[in-house]
Symmetry: C2
C-alpha cells in the first residue's frame, strides 16, 4: 500500500524514515514537486517554487531554502544573488505526498519585484469585472 495512504490513519507521532519518504513522494515527470513558502509567525504565503530530490535534501540538511529553477534548470539557493534568503523552520508534506510546505523566516522581500510576497495581484470581487488589480506598490531600491 502507498505510504501516504497508510499514514492517513496513523496515530500522531508515527515516524517514517527519510529513504522511504523519498521513494514515496510524488515527484512529477520532471522530477519536481511544488513547495509553498509561508512566513513563520504571521502565516503570509510568500511564493511557490519547485524542488527536486536534491534541492529538498539540501533544504533539510542546511535549513536554508533551496529550490530548483525551471527556467535556469539548476538548483536555486534562495537569496544567493539577492541576499533575500529563507531560514527554514519546518518542512511539511501533504496528505498525498505531492506538495511540500516550507515554514520560513524570510530575509527581505520574497518576490523578485522586491515586494514582500509574490501574490500581489488580486482578482476583483464577484459581481464586478473580475480582472486583476495590483494591490501592492513595487519597492524601489
Amino acid at each position: 500500500m502507498d505510504l501516504f495512504k497508510q499514514l492517513e490513519t496513523a496515530a500522531s507521532g508515527t515516524r517514517v524514515g527519510l529513504d522511504e519518504v523519498l521513494s514515496a513522494l510524488r515527484f512529477n515527470s520532471d522530477g519536481l514537486i511544488p513547495a509553498i513558502a509561508q512566513q513563520h509567525g504571521n502565516g503570509e504565503v510568500l511564493m511557490l517554487a519547485w524542488v527536486n530530490r536534491e534541492a529538498l535534501l539540501e533544504t533539510l540538511r542546511t535549513g536554508r531554502a533551496c529550490y530548483y529553477s525551471r527556467s535556469r534548470q539548476k538548483l536555486w539557493r534562495k537569496g544567493e544573488e539577492s541576499g533575500h534568503m529563507q531560514l527554514v523552520r519546518a518542512v511539511y508534506a501533504d496528505c498525498d505526498g505531492d506538495t511540500l510546505l516550507f515554514s520560513v523566516e524570510q530575509t527581505g522581500p520574497a518576490c523578485h519585484t522586491n515586494r514582500p510576497s509574490c501574490f500581489y495581484l488580486r482578482f476583483a470581487d464577484q459581481n464586478q469585472d473580475t480582472g486583476l488589480t495590483v494591490i501592492q506598490e513595487p519597492v524601489t531600491t
Copy 2:
C-alpha cells in the same frame, strides 16, 4: 511584453481585464495551474489543488472553490461530496502568473482524512533523522 512582466513595475491600483489575464496566465501543458488554499483569518495553509480555466472562472463567478481533479479528470467542486466547501474571500495570482492563492473560509476539515489541513506530515528538524512524523491525529467521524 508579457503581461506579468509589465505589472512588475505597475503602480498599486493598476487594473487588467479578465480576458487579458486569462490569456497571460501560465497554465501548464495539461491546461492546469496550482492553487493554494489558505484559511482566511488565521492564515493556515490548507491544501494545494489544481484549476483549469473553467474551474477558475467558476470559482470567480460563484465564490465557492472549484478545482480540477487530476485523478477523476473533471471539475471538483470542493465539498460537493463531503460538504466541506470553501467560501472564497479572495483570489490572488503571483508575480509570474503561474500560481494562484485562494483565501477561503473552510467549512469543516479541508483534508480528505478529516484533518483541518492536508499538511499534517512534518519532516524532523535538521541534525535528527530527517524522516516524516505524523503531527495530527486523524479525526474519526
